[in-house]
Subunit: 600 residues, 2 copies
């Protein structure tokens, strides 16, 4: 029984549903094939099995400490970072020329998924690769030389330093300041909060990719620049000196305790040097490269924790005897049945499976779009990019919001034991809770989806998406057993389009508050439908395998499980769109206030 | 701003909506009036403000410890128990003749609510009063004399000792054994797990109300007896000796850490004495008295934690500036607005308020039925009892399941700060999670609702309920502004009845597994409709106050807030019935397995 993820399912999604090897037809990925992908997955599983998963509980119980300005993390972090750095896993997606393995994002997504399912408290490498990628993309050759190799090697940690005490969701209110110096560097002063992996003793240096306002820059997001601000800076004599980034505070968190969240102060002594990345005042658009990657990564984390929870719940449900089946209630001489045989428990497990595997499929769909955009040109590239932009907030939100609910149900499967530290569910319930907040809360993602992604280029992105979904529906219709589900999905698309057309006029009238009033419910509706599409895709592949081949007993069980879970999703989850659509089309306005401040 | 509950709202529900003073017309309650009720509420608020709420965080951070067989609890527990014992609050609902104040359950529910909102980690008194009530009801005069006064005085703690390692949801599998002795007592051997307040050093004795099987008793629930098993037993010479109940283990819990959950072993030395309560083999039916009270009490705990979370979220949302309003996004010179003015945040707060106040109203409705059943006779008494029995699983489940979601949204209001220990939301998120498990999980409550309460006496209980709801609809129809909501509620009742009539035939065919397959979804539907009824009741009272009187500014705000929240509930929550009803009427069976053990 899998401990925290199901490799069979990962292979199914990566190879059978989303056909990662197809990417190797493109020149950029031609060095790869399924074998090299498998090697990477085996290698990360080995690290996850030995260096991550055994410490899941322990890393949580011994969180980082800040003492005398120094942050000590769990002793397991250092060997872990060494192993992934030396194994080339941090920069696996980087081009060969920049120290990477030129692997597709699809494989990178699986690498992240396995790691976060094993131990999401060790959330370090995604931050480092994202930060290194920004330097590699926008940095001068000198900056690239100085930073990228050390970061990909796991010796230096990367961070994204965006949030300030007064600027969380509202990045336009950032006040950290950069003052230009004659030597081309800048002096940085200000504060950043909630900086994940913002300081730790397991690496030699920490490299902050920091949003900063250059003195005199325009107000708002148009005056934000991106800087590289290291903990230790390289002097001309080759020595490293303290760069005046002080760890002012460490947050005590509900979960994901293995990774420190830091409050940092820059320039207490007036000696914090920063280096501008790319052009001045374009920092936010650069940062969005990392932020979009990070949003997908948070989605992966949500799906991964939900996966680990599903494995734990399933194991418990298969081994825990309790009560007799409802039609055999009075057969007191017969032994108790395993709780998986109670319909209510089976329902909760199917919910968990539907969320985990539906989310992962959506995430791999997004990674595939990223890969295809990377290797395409012209209109094709533009279309892939648009589709990816549309799906990114959904791929961040569905796996996290539904992941929270799924872990919650997973804990319920264990009853009272789920509430105790004897089982990992209580920790997963704590860990996953941050994912709907990280990298833009659900509210922010929802405004991005409805307020931007649905409307750019006159709604081209959703048109492209619906065309893709239509292809899936057409294919599903070739199987008699899938026709009812193809029909349901078609109806859901119509419902979603109807809801959208009810809302768009508010945007056209310039009333964005009304337009986006219930954006979060719109996101929920959109996510339900998008994942229904992913389940129909999975259903087609499973049905093909069952119809055409002789898959063998264990494969038959696997594919039948897929069909069963697809049915569960359509019969139990999809109907929730009815209530959401009703509310979204309801003209009653209850949450917009007339006055400046509302009474409650 | 209220810190953890809103007294104005409590007064509204207790006096304006559910008219507690009406009870004082009955002989049994004639010593009381609104003034005596207020005195009790003031007195418990005083204790909650001084001895409970200031220690909310601290009690969580210093959980009970088991060392050398002794359980040490937080030092604050002892003065708290002393205060509530001396203040007469533990036995407030007991008759005058049994050391109580003969207060209605309605007031008792408010007492519990205030305490649990202040600090649900100090969950001791409800257990003691429930256990004492069992002894007072079914015990011999000697048992009553020996136990009740000490328990109501707060010197002795009471517990309900039901669960065993192999018997959680399945009480019929209890194996703890009693062997009769010549002196009339019994020798007890066995194990109990998850015993809340099962051992603590803040009291002189712990009195377990324990489900036990007398040697040779019939199998299943028909062979279970109820015993009083104290930690220290009184010898004939007046001394107390150790009664061979060993604290074998203590659970480390996700939340509600102030109250120890114990693993107890009885009779390790063969010297554990127990005293039979009432008749042999009728223990489970006796225990149901305490269990039904406890179910309501758990519902109250859910509503109370959700109340404290709502107060904390509301305070934060009123004081936290972030971003500008969506239609003023580009006015970068204007200060940031308070987040309560963002529709998405307002929606989350309205959700919290709707759940907290809707739940509390349902709980007071249930308490009122209990009071009326107590003072009535004949058919009237039977009807009140039936209604209470029908509503009990709902009053346990809606406030806890929706409470979990409500605290989850409350944490989201605070963004990243909600995930840190700087704010209480993270603790509330942990604390409330046990409430959907305690005293019968949501799955068990749902089977009780659909499988028993909807069918007893040919469906008399739901008929009585729908008649009550009809009265509310009729009254609402006298206000033009409430007519749309009266109409909606009427439609929801029809929908619920239609769903019920789709399911009942399975019971008539004896296929209980199919009948109860989706009982949890049925519960969700039933709860949504029942609380819609409670919101319409509140709407009527608020509308009357706004129409008939000159309520004054602060009262106008209060009543308008009620109308607003009622509308929120009908426009945002009630539509969820559509998806639930669709699923419940859908013939597709996905969770019932043919074989003895299911593959997944």
């Amino acid at each position: 029984m899998p401990q925290y993820f199901d490799r069979r399912n990962l292979d199914f999604l990566l190879y059978e549903v989303h056909d990662a090897p197809e990417l190797t037809k493109y020149l950029y990925f031609e060095a790869h094939d399924r074998e090299t992908f498998d090697l990477v997955l085996d290698s990360v599983t080995q690290i996850a099995d030995t260096l991550m998963h055994p410490h899941y509980r322990d890393v949580d119980r011994n969180p980082p400490e800040l003492k005398d300005g120094k942050v000590t993390v769990h002793p397991q972090i250092k060997p872990f970072l060494k192993a992934v750095g030396e194994g080339g896993l941090i920069g696996a997606g980087f081009p060969f020329g920049k120290g990477g393995q030129q692997l597709p994002e699809m494989v990178g997504a699986c690498v992240d998924f396995i790691q976060m399912a094993a131990n999401n408290g060790m959330m370090y490498t995604g931050l480092t690769s994202g930060a290194a990628n920004l330097i590699a993309t926008f940095g001068s050759p000198a900056l690239v030389d100085a930073y990228v190799a050390k970061m990909l090697g796991g010796q230096w940690q990367g961070t994204m330093a965006l949030t300030e005490p007064q600027a969380g969701s509202s990045l336009s209110d950032i006040t950290t300041t950069a003052e230009p110096q004659p030597d081309g560097s800048y002096r940085i002063t200000g504060q950043k909060v909630f900086i994940s992996a913002g300081d730790l003793d397991a690496v030699d240096n920490v490299v902050h990719l920091m949003l900063v306002r250059i003195k005199g820059a325009p107000k708002g997001t148009k005056g934000i620049s991106l800087f590289v601000v290291p903990k230790f800076r390289l002097e001309e004599d080759g020595s490293f000196v303290d760069n005046d980034v002080t760890s002012t505070g460490i947050y005590h968190k509900l979960g994901q305790r293995g990774t420190p969240a830091m409050h940092l102060t820059m320039g207490d002594r007036g000696d914090c040097h920063g280096w501008l990345l790319g052009e001045a005042n374009r920092g936010l658009s650069y940062m969005f490269q990392m932020m979009n990657e990070a949003r997908i990564a948070v989605g992966i984390t949500g799906a991964a924790i939900a996966s680990a929870a599903y494995c734990a719940s399933l194991e418990y449900a298969r081994e825990r005897p309790q009560s007799r089946r409802l039609n055999e209630k009075n057969q007191l001489d017969s032994p108790q049945t395993m709780i998986i045989n109670h319909p209510d428990v089976k329902r909760m497990l199917l919910f968990q499976k539907a969320i985990v595997e539906g989310s992962l499929s959506l995430l791999l769909e997004s990674a595939r779009l990223s890969d295809l955009a990377h290797v395409s040109k012209g209109e094709e590239k533009e279309n892939y990019t648009l589709l990816l932009e549309l799906l990114t907030p959904v791929a961040k939100t569905f796996p996290t919001e539904m992941g929270v609910r799924s872990v919650n149900e997973g804990l319920q499967v264990l009853g009272g034991y789920g509430f105790t530290e004897d089982f990992p569910l209580e920790q997963m319930y704590r860990d996953i809770r941050i994912t709907t907040i990280y990298e833009g809360t659900t509210g922010i993602q929802s405004q991005d989806l409805l307020g931007r992604k649905m409307t750019i280029q006159g709604g081209k992105a959703p048109r492209l998406l619906f065309a893709e979904i239509d292809k899936t529906i057409t294919e599903a219709n070739t199987h008699e057993t899938l026709q009812p589900y193809a029909k349901m999905l078609g109806e859901e698309i119509q419902r979603l389009q109807k809801v959208t057309s009810t809302l768009l006029p508010f945007a056209q009238q310039g009333d964005y508050e009304r337009f986006l009033m219930d954006a979060t419910l719109y996101m929920e509706l959109f996510g339900l439908v998008t994942v229904a599409w992913q389940w129909l895709k999975q259903g087609i592949v499973a049905q093909n395998a069952l119809s055409d081949n002789s898959p063998g007993e264990s494969n038959t069980d696997f594919y039948e499980g897929k069909i069963q879970t697809m049915k569960y999703y359509f019969h139990y989850e999809v109907p929730k769109t009815l209530g959401l659509a009703k509310r979204l089309q309801d003209p009653e306005v209850l949450t917009i206030v007339k006055e400046r401040e509302v009474k409650m």
